[in-house]
């Protein structure tokens, strides 16, 4: 039984590490800040989730699990918030919703609907 | 009733040491909550209590003929922290209490809260930071644990730096930032030395460390390196000449009450720790060439500080540079103490006391003069002698003590230093001491002659200071001037609690015959010659139009001196000199072992 759990831990943590690697490659390779945010917030949080999942069998019953999952949830919360803040800071002006359509220069058709309401 | 109260205060024994530690701290905390108007009086009341406690400690040490000890929390030193008040720290506590009481009375007017407001920035900041300085200094004088002394030094620095920038002018902000960064550099080096001591011996208590170091036959290299780092860190905080870049603008820019405290007391706390390290922790250091290095720096400070002071055109900067010079005297005692005699240490302590009173009086007097005239240009001082006779008199008396004329404290210091220099055959220190006295006389007589010369503009001061301020300035100046008349037993107090020096009581013996007529005259006639010289220069200047520079108008060496001073006060150069000093001290201490 413990062999299976150890095996599960190794597999899960390795998968997590691969997702971290993907996130880092995304950080280095992607052209601009917004796309890099995707790489970081998506890949790293999933990677961390897998690592936490893999480590769960290694810790003592309820308290250890709660601690690890709390680490993951906090990382998710801070990742999402920082992603939002960075996106607001670098958002290109032409995505402003209250600009008249013809004033939008060569905006790619599927530009995300900016939900700015300041 | 008072003497009864005083008596039972004295029989508290060791617990007495907690009062000077906690009184300022409680004052600092309550001052934060107390409404502004009562702050000044509350501060005065606590300063008086503090003076009583310091007097009780001095009396207890004197009668008990031994240092007072106290273990905080009841834990024995290697684990806990101990307090100790030997003769030296008792005298320092007393001086601090006297000077701070003077400053407290002086500052009542400048930092009082106007009627309409509940509180102002200046009054809250000044009084709370004054308590912070007082708490830090008392802990430095009483602490026996190297890390507790570090925290006390930080409390002192964090209370002193905002005082420099209290007026908010741009150059005082720059001066405060430079003071803070250089003081932090010093305290980090001090901490580095502390960690090496702990790494080697596992304790930070000075007496225990001293026994371990004395007992060890071959000192591991970490110990001299630690002593060198701590010494240089404390030199940076004491502003000894190559590391003096922060002192002149900081002390000249601060409000007068603050610059009095900074010059008289704050600079002496880090010097006191150097005394603790060199005389208590590792007395063997005194016999090394490292002591000669400190002596050489002291001599350089005396000559350089006085010469640049001659060049100054603003009164406060002149006094700040004079502080640099007087600090130099403090470092002459290290080479002179090599022979193991306690005379040099007594001279150092007397210099701290005399300079504290004299310099506090001079800075406060300069503050009154600047307030009355609206500026502190030395050239523009004429006529102030009539407008503020008491203040100019106090300024002059303080100056006489710095020169070292009898019966002042400075005279005692010069007598002891000269006798010790001749006694140990290091005659060059004798020359430096005399030269310093003459240079001080030069710029003091120049300033006094300006102040007492005929009134060029009507002598209606812009703002007449209160009589209380003038009297307290005069009182402090008289303290410095009449220090020589103290009974010689007060000088012996300094040697209580010190390891039994070979010639205990030698200092008071030397001072006993310092009052013979020929000695008095041999000290006086060079000063009279300098006075005549200054009069001649002033007379020649009055006939020619005004020159902006100080005494020597167009002298080439004068400008070269200014450039040298400006060069030395650049941050990278001062940093480089600090590193060179660390290397020099480490080398002399390692080789000398």
């Amino acid at each position: 039984m413990s062999l299976a759990l150890d095996l599960f831990t190794i597999v899960a943590v390795t998968l997590g590490a691969i997702f971290f690697l993907a996130g880092t490659v995304g950080l280095l390779r992607f052209p601009d800040t917004l796309t890099r945010l995707h790489a970081l917030t998506k890949a790293d949080n999933l990677g961390l989730g897998l690592v936490v999942l893999g480590l769960l069998p290694q810790t003592t019953a309820p308290l250890g699990w709660i601690g690890l999952i709390a680490v993951w949830l906090l990382a998710l919360l801070s990742g999402a918030t920082v992603g939002q803040l960075l996106a607001e800071a670098v958002r290109p002006p032409e995505w402003d919703q209250n600009r008249t359509p013809d004033a939008l220069p060569n905006v790619p058709p599927n530009a995300p609907e900016a939900s700015s309401h300041d | 009733m008072l003497t009864a109260r005083f008596a039972d205060l004295m029989d508290l024994g060791g617990l007495l040491l907690v009062i000077p530690l906690m009184l300022p701290v409680v004052g600092l905390l309550l001052a934060l909550v107390l409404r502004g108007r009562a702050l000044g009086r509350f501060a005065l009341m606590l300063l008086l209590l503090g003076l009583a406690a310091a007097a009780a400690i001095a009396a207890a040490v004197a009668t008990g003929e031994d240092a007072l000890h106290y273990q905080l929390g009841g834990w024995a030193p290697p684990l806990g922290v101990a307090l100790k008040a030997d003769g030296l720290s008792a005298v320092m506590l007393l001086t601090t209490a006297v000077v701070l009481l003077g400053v407290g009375i002086y500052a009542q007017r400048g930092f009082q809260v106007p009627a309409g407001l509940p509180e102002t920035r200046r009054s809250l900041a000044f009084w709370t930071l004054l308590f912070g300085i007082w708490g830090g200094i008392n802990t430095v004088f009483l602490g026996q644990d190297l890390f507790t002394l570090f925290v006390a030094l930080e409390l002192l620095t964090f209370s002193a730096v905002p005082l420099v920038a209290l007026d908010g002018r741009a150059e005082t902000l720059a001066a405060a930032l430079r003071y803070l960064l250089f003081a932090l550099l010093g305290s980090v080096l001090y901490l580095l030395g502390t960690v090496l001591f702990y790494g080697t011996y596992g304790t930070l208590d000075i007496p225990l460390l001293a026994d371990l170091i004395a007992g060890a036959d071959a000192l591991p290299p970490a110990v001299p390196v630690a002593a060198a780092l701590m010494t240089v860190g404390l030199l940076a905080k004491t502003a000894l000449v190559p590391l003096h870049l922060w002192l002149p603008p900081a002390h000249a820019g601060a409000p007068p009450a603050a610059s009095a405290v900074l010059s008289a007391l704050v600079v002496k706390a880090s010097f006191f720790l150097i005394l603790r390290i060199w005389f208590d922790l590792m007395p063997a250091l005194l016999t090394l060439t490292a002591a000669q290095v400190l002596g050489a720096l002291g001599a350089a400070a005396i000559l350089f500080g006085n010469l640049v002071a001659l060049r100054q055109t603003r009164l406060k900067l002149l006094i700040a540079y004079s502080t640099l010079a007087q600090i130099g005297y403090l470092f002459l005692i290290f080479p002179l103490a090599a022979g193991g005699s306690s005379v040099a240490l007594t001279a150092g302590a007397l210099q701290v006391v005399a300079h504290a009173c004299a310099k506090a009086a001079m800075f406060m007097a300069a503050g009154l003069i600047a307030a009355a005239l609206g500026h502190d240009q030395i050239r523009g001082l004429s006529g102030i002698g009539r407008a503020l006779p008491l203040t100019v008199l106090a300024f002059g008396l303080g100056g006489l003590s710095l020169i070292g004329l009898p019966p002042s404290g400075g005279y005692l210091v010069k007598t002891l230093l000269s006798a010790e220099a001749i006694g140990t055959g290091q005659w060059w220190w004798y020359l430096v001491v005399q030269a310093g006295g003459l240079l001080t006389a030069a710029y003091l007589f120049f300033v006094l002659s300006q102040a007492l010369s005929g009134p060029r503009q009507p002598a209606t001061p812009r703002e007449h200071p209160r009589l209380a301020q003038q009297l307290v300035v005069l009182a402090l100046a008289l303290c410095a001037l009449l220090l020589g008349l103290l009974p010689l037993s007060a000088v012996d107090l300094l040697e209580i609690g010190r390891p039994a020096a070979a010639d205990s009581g030698a200092a008071s013996a030397l001072l006993a015959d310092a009052w013979s007529l020929d000695k008095l005259w041999s000290g006086l006639w060079p000063v009279l010659i300098v006075a005549a010289l200054v009069m001649a220069v002033r007379y020649r200047q009055q006939r020619k139009p005004m020159e902006p520079e100080g005494i020597r108008p167009a002298a080439a060496p004068g400008r070269a001196l200014d450039q040298l001073d400006r060069l030395l006060r650049q941050w990278p150069i001062a940093g480089l000199l600090l590193l060179v000093l660390v290397a020099a001290l480490v080398q002399t201490m390692l080789v000398g072992r």
């Binding site: - | 684990l79 007017r109 890390f147 570090f150 925290v151 930080e154 964090f158 730096v161 905002p162 920038a165 908010g168 741009a170 150059e171 902000l173 720059a174 001066a175 930032l177 430079r178 803070l180 960064l181 932090l184 550099l185 980090v188 901490l191 580095l192 960690v195 090496l196 702990y198 790494g199 596992g202 603008p249 000249a252 820019g253 409000p255 007068p256 009450a257 055109t313 603003r314 900067l317 406060m364 503050g367 600047a370 307030a371 005239l373 609206g374 500026h375 502190d376 240009q377 523009g380 703002e463 200071p465 902006p548 400006r566 650049q570 941050w571 990278p572 940093g575 480089l576 600090l578 590193l579």
Partner: protein, 120 residues
């Protein structure tokens, strides 16, 4: 060559690097950063000595690691270093607002015009 000694060498390098930054960097904010570097180097030395001293405890079987006294000193030192950084940063921002520069040079007192001295 245990890990602890490695951290000791790292601490010594940090102190050297911080000293260089504190002396040579013109910007005052960079000097404050360099001061924090030296501070962390010195505290690391405290940690190395605490870890080395802790071996005694492990022998005594109490299981707790490290000598608690240097660790307590480091915690106190960190808080003091934070207070120092807070004052230095506020002073620097105020200096930059009033005289539009972030460096320490150029502090000669104003030209010879008599300054209007505020009340003592």
């Amino acid at each position: 060559m245990s890990g602890t000694t490695l951290f000791g060498l790292c601490a010594a390098t940090l102190v050297g690097l911080g000293l260089y930054g504190l002396i040579c960097q013109p910007g005052a904010l960079r000097k404050i950063l360099a001061f924090n570097l030296i501070g962390s180097g010195v505290f690391l030395l405290f940690g190395v000595i605490a870890q080395r001293g802790g071996g005694v405890l492990a022998l005594a079987g109490t299981g707790r690691d490290g000598d608690p006294v240097p660790q307590a000193l480091v915690i106190t030192g960190l808080v003091v270093a934070f207070a120092a950084t807070a004052i230095a940063v506020t002073l620097l921002v105020r200096l930059a607002e009033t005289s539009a520069r972030g460096t320490l040079e150029g502090d000669e007192p104003p030209p010879q015009a008599p300054p209007d001295e505020p009340r003592p």
